[in-house]
């Protein structure tokens, strides 16, 4: 069943209710992920990319609500938005695993790491503690952790940042989920460690045949491991494309700006652009296209009317009046 959909998000809207008003963090997002595909969701802080990831996992804080839309998990086409908490708990970990940004805040500081991995295996497979522990050590070995038996008996604070992130990955993949969501998995790590963790992720999703949803602000990481990219701006997807064509031929002015704003080792300083202005406040987003106040191509229609996400060819959709 290659090329079949595994997850489909349709018109998803997640709002936060704050003292300042309603924050439209995810505002009508539609996309799908195919089996074995690696999709990147790229955006700046406040673009709603993490909210989107947490909405799929239904791990939103108390003041957030999924207001509208569906998240279908295939092949049964169950709607995650409408599952009860008990049913959702069986999906989390078992069918969708998640890796978080800061490994230290998501590991239990007073529990040995081996036991933390075993816990998930016991819950979902109902095996004994001894079996689960054995599996945990096997997993750590698979993640190329030297001296895995010993590491399993250590506490999180005794491990380095890269090691801790590998433990988090081990927990996330312990039940062979079909989808792995990684929210800024390497932001807290040093470059050389980051390269190692990325390599590991790439190998793992290939070996286990998982689909990956990578949430990040870093277009460099995306180029290393993903094959499809969705660019988010102010709660909306502005462009979605196959990876090679996105980098070679970005269409949305925001995507172009984003690619120019980051210094790279192959770029001269004169090539560094930048996008004027700042990301908008999502309590009061601009009318029309949300990027229009920062866009150098904006014209009258952009302020008046919001551009829909339109498919321009097989592997690309863009939300911009210039492209229509």
């Amino acid at each position: 069943m290659i090329n079949s959909k595994i997850l489909e998000i349709s018109n998803l809207t997640t709002y936060y209710y704050t003292s300042r008003g309603i924050v439209r963090a995810v505002d009508g997002v539609t996309l799908h992920v195919k089996r074995g595909e690696s999709l990147a969701i790229v955006g700046e802080s406040g673009s709603g990319k993490s909210t989107l990831a947490f909405s799929i996992m239904r791990l939103l804080p108390d003041n957030a609500r999924i207001f509208n839309g569906n998240i279908w998990l295939y092949p049964e086409k169950i709607d995650l938005v409408r599952l009860s908490n008990d049913e959702m708990r069986k999906v989390r970990g078992r069918r969708i695993g998640m890796i978080f940004q800061d490994p230290m805040t998501f590991l239990n500081p007073v529990m040995k790491v081996g036991d933390q991995i075993a816990e998930a295996i016991m819950y979902h497979h109902g095996c004994t503690k001894t079996e689960a522990r054995k599996k945990a050590v096997e997993l750590l070995e698979k993640l190329r952790i030297p001296d895995a038996t010993n590491v399993a008996y250590r506490y999180p604070h005794q491990l380095s940042g890269g090691m801790k992130q590998r433990v988090i990955i081990a927990i996330a993949v312990s039940c062979n989920p079909e989808i792995l969501i990684a929210d800024e998995p390497t932001t807290a790590l040093d470059v050389t460690v980051q390269a190692e963790v990325l390599e590991l992720l790439r190998r793992l999703i290939h070996e286990l045949g998982m689909s990956l949803i990578l949430v990040t602000h870093d277009l460099g990481i995306v180029a290393e491991i993903c094959n499809k990219v969705a660019i988010m701006y102010a709660g909306k997807i502005v462009e979605i494309a196959e990876i090679y064509s996105l980098y070679r031929n970005p269409k949305h002015p925001y995507t172009i700006g984003l690619l120019n704003a980051v210094p790279t080792i192959y770029k001269s300083s004169s090539e560094i652009g930048g996008i004027k202005g700042n990301p908008p406040d999502l309590v009061n987003p601009p009318t029309g296209c949300r990027f229009n106040p920062r866009c150098s191509y904006a014209f009258e229609r952009c302020v008046r009317e919001e551009p829909p996400l339109i498919e321009v060819n097989n592997d690309r959709a863009v939300a911009c009046w210039l492209v229509v």
Binding site: G46, T192, A195, G220, A223, E224, Y244, Y247, V262, G274
Partner: protein, 329 residues
Amino acid sequence: MRTYPLLRVENVKKYFPIGRALFGRSKQYVKAVDDVYFSLDVGGSLGIVGESGSGKTTLAKLVLRLLEPTSGKVYLDNIDLISLSNKEIRRLRPKMQMIFQDPMASLNPRKKIRDIIGQVFKIHTDMSDVEIRERVIDLLEKVGLTPPELFLDRYPHELSGGQRQRVCIARAIALNPKLLIADEPVSALDVSVRGQIVKLLLDIFEKYKNEIAYIVISHDIALIKSICKDALVMYLGKVVERGEVGKIIEEPLHPYSQMLISSIPVPDPEIARNRKRIPIGGEIPSLINPPKGCYFHPRCPYVMDRCREKMPPLIDVDNRLVSCYLYSE
């Protein structure tokens, strides 16, 4: 004509004692910066690259004497900064300024922008309030906060991250410093805003190139490449390679530089998936008990017997300094 460099750093070391016994002397040290030397002329620019724990920020603080070195000398304009008293060094502070990573943390949240920038003139000059206001307006314009009148009476929390960093830059250049150090100036900012700040820094450095020298500290060699001419690659408190940034990126000599550069994610899938990769082994060792010999040898793919015995000295290779036995006879 001056015959000496603007900044001269001579063999500075900073050892932090740890685990001090009651009454006794500490037995263990963290060698945060170990025997670093370089000099910088007016118009010169140096990037300090390294991962966390490499000692790059400690080095910057030593250069500005925000920390006392364990040994070594720092000369600014031929003045020995280390021997100065606190009072004397305070008088020199306007000549050396720093821009920090997190602009929110380096601006007083209870002061208006006019006072944050105006304060430096109050402390270091005898300008009148009217003159100060004029200077502040002029500075805000220089860093692109226009119209300046709109920003004078705002507080830091009313500005965006990029605007705050602009205020920090305005404050740093207020008294015409000779040496400007920027520590991770864009890493706390939104991706789309980073480009603006990089451009602003480039403009400012270009405008003052006949007066100042600057140092940029970052874990990101791509950022260094876009604003500095030379770079110094640090690993566990030691300089492993020094030279022109472009050359280091094109052909890194030290195995650590090679590993660092091949680990940088490149926002271009074609390059990213076809370039040569240096296999990465192990993790950064602890600074408390660094490995014997070359600190990099446990992770190095080219390790030889010699590397395990003695730290290689910095030697001149092709207009570059490298600390690696691969390049000595």
